[in-house]
Amino acid sequence: MSEPTGIPPVEELESTTFAGRVTARWNTAGTASAIGTTVLAFFVGGLVVLATGHNPIDTYKAIFNGTGLEWLIPGVGNRGDDASNLQQTLIVATPLMLTGLALAFAFRCGMFNIGGQGQYLAGQVVSVIVATSWVGMNGPVHIVIALVLASVAGAFWAGIAGFLKATTGAHEVISTIMLNWIAIWVADYFFGLGGPFTGVAFNPSSAPILANTHLPVFWGDPLLQGLHIGFFIAIAMLVVYWLILNRTTLGFEVRAVGFNPEAARYGGISVKRSYFTAMAISGLFAGLAGAVDILGWEFSLSTPAVHTSQIGFIGIAVALLGRNSAVGIFFAAILFGALSVGTSTRQLDPNVFDPQLASNLTLIIQGLVVLFVGADVLVVAMWRSPGRLVRRLRTK
């Protein structure tokens, strides 16, 4: 952003970056406020359920039953059903952890990467193309190549936004929103009818990926969508995320820039390069999420799926609720994974609550969580300095 000459800049924000505020509060009242935020969101969601003539307690109970989380409590419920439900929950939580990480990494560098969805799609597109080509390649090698190239695609897609921010100052929020939609329509073209990568006649979809590129299932029946090893990849990435941030000089730079770019510059860090690197790494996680979904359970990519997918967007809620910490992201991803599985047609008993209503309830709760996190950052910040709370209340 160029400074106009002769004019002082408009007044500064009271704190550093938003990301700095979110992250910094984790150690203090963070855990409590994350739980509080969630409870409040479920409570308000329950009010909507109640107001429309349903029983919120029965509804939440039925949703919970569908998530399979009961499996974790020994001796309760139907072990077999619970296990297969929990597998579904974890299958959805897997990419959410990764897109959550993508958002969180950018946040830690002071950027808002709304483009998780586009980077996730870039990963899906590349992994499906790789996994449908090169027949006869060794399975594990093929899988690794697909995962790596998909991550690179995500990194490239996010890197565009990072590059533009570093060189021209273009705001990453706008550029990543645009890149999301470009990715959606490119994928729509690739796999749409008559598109260059359409693989099924009269069907806007890629060909199914080669059988030996499927990620191995380690829990449950592979034919009934058991839990694949992508789950461990995601867990590994949570560790990688933590390691990069806390155990590498790159992470040191990213965190310094996210908390205070001016001090980082004084410390000798190239702020612009950090913006680019952080964005690319952020996209790497999202691209990997796309590949894990394709190789783990989707096995092909169709244009309706391209248009309805929300994994990257839910990643925003995951990162915010998880307060950018690896552990927080793990639990937040499980929460949102459980919510979307528990409210799916397959799991929710329509006699208790219409699954179509429930999936929208999920969106409402998600929105409320983000809304409350947005405000609660402030409440927690003022918790630390009560004087400001009083002053703020006084300004009419």
């Binding site: 806390n246 000089t249 040191f252 908390f259 510059r265």
Partner: protein, 510 residues
Amino acid sequence: MEAAPVLEVRGITKRFPGIVANDHVDLELYDGEVLALLGENGAGKSTLMNVLFGLYKADEGEILLNGKPVTFHSSKDAIGAGIGMVHQHFMLIPVMTVAENIVLGDEPTTTGILLDYASAENRVRELAENFNFDIDPTMRIDRLTVGQQQRVEILKALYRRAEILILDEPTAVLTPQEAVDLFRILRELKGEGMSIIFISHKLNEVLDIADRVSVLRRGKVVDTIPTEGATEEGLAKLMVGREVLLTVEKEPASPGEVLLEVDDLYALDDRGLEAVRGVSLTVCAGEIVGIAGVDNNGQSQLIDAICGLAPSVSGRVVVAGTECHRASPREMTDVAGVGHIPEDRQRRGLVLDFSIAENIALHDYRHEPDSRRGWLYPGRLLAQAKSLIKEFDVRGGSPMSRAGVLSGGNQQKVILAREISRDPRVLIAAQPTRGLDVGAIEFVHRRLVNERDRGRAILLLSLELEEILSLADRILVIFEGRIVGEFTPEASEEELGLAMAGGTTQEHAA
């Protein structure tokens, strides 16, 4: 002066956490006079004016306008009462025209809805012509020079029929020629019956333009005297005052080789104005060179340019014989060996959300032992921090605690620890004791002298004259981006104060 004052301030007190910015201030402003408010930085001038303009609410005291007590809840009330203010940072919207800026908030309309641009422009043009302002009402603000922008601010007040005009350090942003123009305008306004409060810390200006001058020191009015017969020396004495000097025990310096050499350096500020105008200086091993000066005379830009944090326009920076012109901040710290204690420790010196250990590693995290091949060893960071915390007596936090939880003095110790432990050849300390308590000040001072004795070249910048006098072995005075004089520590405060206020240079009047 028999008439009642148009504006009377009685016993105004304004406290901020930790300081009393205005302490029972009394002030009288008479019709058609220019009253100067003179004082050092932090003397409480701006606070007082913000109270007068309704931006702050005074804790005690009252304001009387034409003999009647008034209360201002916002600047709107002050404007309504006929007070206009020209802020130090202009309150102008760069992308709008002169006319739009002037009528904003009090716009002429046709039929009550549509903005009447023609009439706005005409009224502004008339106003400008009345006072011989060369300003085109249809020009956009960002196309104007700073001097013209200031005139727009004055027009804004005139448009609102202000009878009292407050100017907050109006010459701080002007070139000498623009300042001359401003004074011509102010005299004209005075001739029209306007009463003016002129805030400044430049003595020659005050003597030039004001009828009377009130001197503010540490939030109190020390004296109010007519400028007729007053001298710069007298005013400087009033402004700086007699204070207990903080004595620092030190041996006479024994300067060695030249470690820092700055030659004919030019640099711009963030508004693109020339802030450093041909500064040349040298600092030798084992000496402290102090740069004295009033705020906003190019000190910050000088240091940024030396440290590679802002590009210089031309000139040379040489550290220990190595040419460092236009080096990056990292090259200055790592290769040239320059330590820098920055002016603003919270915005620049520390990452407040980082731990103390991470802050200490802010420059060195890329090198062994902190890291190897990109891999960071937090244990080593902590170990180093632990020993430095002990050495520099940082209290109130462990190596793991956030820097933000430390008190100002301890934050400064962390910075000092970081910069000194890197064994720099040259140490630049910018306002190293600003806002610190006496104990911390003493610690910083002792440490700086200690480092001098270990053979470092130290460049000290301070707005506190006493600090410079008690620490420096040589004193350079900076005024409007130039070094205007060199003094020994034996120089009197009056001499220095005069130079700092531009008293010894004649360029200003040119």
